[in-house]
């Protein structure tokens, strides 16, 4: 019930490509879905977040798509740049779950 499943484990795209990272959850009480970006040797940092009352949210080149009925959400990075190379984690919480439950992470490499 608390699990968040993330795929793919790793992703390589060319500069300008649009990497897509997918997550699925089971707990229907979850109502907050953030994405975190982590560079090597650093702690994760909040990138963008969405609530289930909207199906899409954009912030700059980053977009979250949310499908409540399928219990899935995804991160799209438009016009990806080498500086976007990092590990991306989806997460969720809500209901009785006060702490964030994280996906297993996606290591993104954007080639120049």
């Amino acid at each position: 019930q608390q699990q968040v499943k993330q795929s793919p484990q790793s992703l390589i795209v060319q500069k300008g490509g649009i990497p897509i990272i997918n997550c699925a959850y089971e707990n229907t009480a979850f109502d907050y879905f953030p994405w975190y970006q982590q560079f090597p040797g650093k702690g994760p940092a909040l990138l963008i977040a969405i609530r289930p009352d909207v199906s899409e949210k954009k912030e700059g080149r980053f977009t979250i798509s949310f499908n409540k009925s399928a219990k899935q959400f995804s991160l799209h990075i438009m016009d990806s740049q080498p500086g976007d190379s990092a590990t991306y984690f989806c997460a969720a919480n809500g209901g009785s779950a006060r702490q964030l439950t994280f996906g297993s992470g996606t290591q993104l490499t954007v080639l120049p």
């Binding site: 993330q6 109502d31 907050y32 953030p34 975190y36 040797g41 650093k42 702690g43 994760p44 940092a45 909040l46 977040a49 609530r51 984690f89 919480n93 809500g94 006060r98 702490q99 964030l100 439950t101 994280f102 996906g103 297993s104 992470g105 290591q107």
Partner: protein, 115 residues
């Protein structure tokens, strides 16, 4: 401080020794979390503190792990009789309050290596 501060940044210890990891949350943040991140893996919840409420210890993997928090300030994660499987980055995070929608800010972690 401006961000979540953790110390030490790196710790190498011998199997069987006890270690203490420290976290200074962002000033004013009432909620504090500890997560563990093994190499190349996701973040595993360990424990969180919210004000004066009893901490949620549901993520602690064994009784060798414990944590304390002084009021709404610093927290210490203690691992007793360390094992090689304890090798990981221990991340501390804080937020204004618990509950959904509150941004959680992470420190840079304490990298623990048990040899």
């Amino acid at each position: 401080g401006a961000g979540v501060s953790q110390s030490p940044s790196n710790k190498v210890t011998e199997k069987g020794k006890d270690v203490e990891l420290r976290c200074d949350p962002i000033s004013g943040h009432t909620a504090l979390y500890w997560y563990r991140q093994r190499l190349g893996q996701g973040l595993e919840f360990l424990i969180y503190f919210q004000g004066n409420s009893a901490p949620d210890k549901s993520g602690l993997p064994s009784d060798r792990f414990s944590a304390e928090r002084t009021g709404e300030s610093v927290s210490t994660l203690t691992i007793q009789r360390t094992q090689q499987e304890d090798s990981a980055v221990y991340l501390c995070a804080s937020s204004l309050v618990t509950g959904t929608g509150n941004t959680i800010y992470f420190g840079e972690g304490s990298w623990l290596t048990v040899v």
